[in-house]
């Protein structure tokens, strides 16, 4: 017969049914004779059984909260991936430290390394020159005016800008490289809401001409007017073709200084050509057009407010992404978990229709277009 020490060793496995037949018999034989081991077995068994009873069901809303956390994590990972995919760009300010390092090396090993130092300085100077050239688009490098304008439906109205505020030369888009470009700094008139839409509004600007902005299907774009004006965008399909407004005007609305650069670089001065190239009209009539019969002077626009709130299970983050596919970030604001979209009276109907057809939208309660409110509930 086994002793008490051995019995204590086997007690756990016996309770869990993990002992073979022989060991079971030995253990049972011992506890039938040993009162203290039998008492210990009873207590251990009770603990094990009682512990199995305190397994807890999931708290209410647990799955939904985990889903939200995972969606947020997915966005974070996407942003990290986008940053990594840009690759390493040697920043200009590093040239200084490179030069300093070269100087130190030269001082320490001055004899016999003069040539090395000289080479490093030349290289640093060359690199500085290269970086300056890269950041400052030269008119000579831009496509000539006679180059064919890109097809209307290929242009993204989010014109790419670099950090200096000038538009990169590749206004001409190709279909070969349609990687979506999202400017790091908001190119529309800035408001705080831009920060709330990190996926769309804060990705980095492309460094090279090759990473042209992705084409947006202009048929899918809404005509919008900003309540605080500056520009009105209209797809070719929605007007009779009286395109008198310019891509530069569009760019001007988004980034005034860049607009002139675009006009210069592209060599496009004729408004019709510009509009055709850009695929939209704007409310501003450029001085060059001289004929702005199409668009009246900008009048005071009455905003129609559309409020979007979450019925509890929906993802506001996903819905914001959807909104940014056809609205400017300056037209979207968020407060206390509700999204507010501000559009003009003219565009109210098309925006509502767009929202109705979206799978996220659970219900639409319309207000009056003129300054009224519609309430959208998302799933």
């Amino acid at each position: 017969m086994i002793d008490c020490a051995k019995a204590r060793e086997l007690s756990g496995s016996y309770i869990d049914g993990e002992l073979n037949e022989a060991a079971c018999l030995s253990y049972e034989e011992h506890i039938s004779c040993c009162e203290s081991c039998h008492e210990e077995y009873d207590m251990l068994k009770k603990v094990s059984v009682d512990l199995s009873a305190i397994a807890t069901p999931l708290p209410e809303g647990f799955a939904r909260r985990m889903h939200t956390a995972l969606v947020n994590e997915q966005f974070k990972m996407q942003k990290e991936k986008e940053k990594k995919s840009k690759g390493f760009v040697f920043p200009l300010y590093r040239v200084g430290s490179l030069v300093a390092a070269a100087l130190v090396i030269t001082v320490i090993g001055k004899y016999g390394v003069y040539d090395t130092y000289k080479k490093v300085m030349e290289d640093a100077s060359h690199m500085t020159t290269m970086l300056h050239e890269k950041e400052t688009p030269k008119p000579a490098d831009t496509p000539a005016a006679e180059e064919p304008a890109p097809p209307q439906e290929e242009i993204n109205y989010n014109v790419t800008v670099d950090n200096s505020g000038e538009i990169t030369p590749s206004y001409e888009n190709t279909t070969d490289n349609m990687e979506e470009v999202i400017p790091e700094e908001p190119i529309a008139p800035v408001n705080d809401t831009v920060e709330e839409f990190p996926v769309e509004a804060t990705a980095d600007v492309p460094e090279t001409e090759e990473s042209a902005p992705a084409a947006e299907d202009t048929a899918a774009m809404f005509s919008l007017e900003k309540a605080d004006d500056t520009a009105k965008f209209d797809t070719g399909e929605s007007s009779g073709g009286d395109h008198t407004q310019s891509a530069p005007s569009v760019a001007r609305a988004m980034m005034p200084d860049a607009a002139e650069a675009v006009q210069e670089e592209e060599g496009i001065t004729n408004d019709t050509d510009i509009a055709e190239a850009a695929g939209y009209t704007t409310a501003d009539t450029p001085a060059a057009s001289g004929g702005g019969s199409s668009s009246a002077a900008a009048t005071e626009l009455i905003p129609a407010v559309v409020t979007i709130h979450n019925s509890g299970d929906g993802s506001m983050i996903m819905f914001k992404k959807f909104l940014l596919t056809f609205l400017d970030s300056s037209e979207i604001s968020e407060n206390n978990g509700e999204i507010t979209v501000t559009v003009t009276d003219d565009e109210y109907d098309s925006v509502i229709q767009r929202l109705r057809s979206n799978e996220y939208v659970k219900s639409v309660t319309e207000g009056t277009p003129s300054g009224g409110k519609a309430v959208i509930t998302i799933r």
């Binding site: 204590r8 756990g12 207590m43 009873a53 305190i54 807890t56 799955a63 956390a69 994590e73 997915q74």
Partner: protein, 187 residues
């Protein structure tokens, strides 16, 4: 869910398919939460820990090489993340009954089996678990609260079945001593 289906979903999840990932892990939410609750000791920390677990699993799913069962892998991450979280929060002390909130006891008493236990009994059990060493706590939470087999526990804790057996025995013995002191067996 068959192993084939799991494998397909894992491959999709590794490519960033979030719905596929959620389909994989949703069936394990209850166990993940209960492991977290057993180790962390209260529902608030348990949910935080569970969220961290899921995020960690989501980020690491690309590294899963099908060398073990997917469930074993995620429970291993669960146990490790929760243990690390607990250490960070420095809750290596016994929690008195007064500190257990209504939420903890309410949640514990939610199951029909738990209704047979008194409030005091449940709080004694939670306190006793919290007083265990990390390794003992882990095996007791996996075995007695979540019902994993010895082999599964060995896979999750990355040790042998023999080690699991001896840890469980020692853990139960330690629990028994703590509960004896609290008068648990006299109720």
């Amino acid at each position: 869910m068959t192993e084939e289906v799991i494998k397909e979903l894992v491959v999709k999840a590794q490519k960033g398919d979030l719905p596929a990932f959620e389909q994989l892990v949703e069936q394990h939410y209850t166990k993940i939460y209960n492991i977290a609750l057993g180790i962390m000791g209260n529902p608030h920390d348990a949910e935080d820990a569970a969220q961290n677990v899921l995020i960690k699993i989501y980020r690491a799913v690309g590294d899963f090489k099908f060398q073990s069962k997917f469930s074993t892998w995620i429970y291993r991450i669960t146990a490790n993340v929760c243990t690390d979280e607990l250490r960070k929060r420095k809750r290596q002390r016994a929690i008195s009954t007064d500190e257990l909130t209504e939420d903890v006891l309410g949640a514990d008493l939610a199951t029909p089996e738990a209704h047979a236990l008194s409030r005091e009994a449940v709080s004694d059990l939670r306190c006793a678990i919290n007083s265990l060493k990390d390794e003992h706590k882990k095996v007791i939470v996996l075995r007695d609260i979540n019902g994993f087999s010895y082999e599964e526990i060995a896979g999750i804790t990355n040790c042998s079945v023999g080690t699991v057996k001896s840890r469980i025995s020692r853990a139960r013995s330690a629990l028994k001593d703590t509960l004896t002191t609290s008068g648990y067996f006299n109720r």
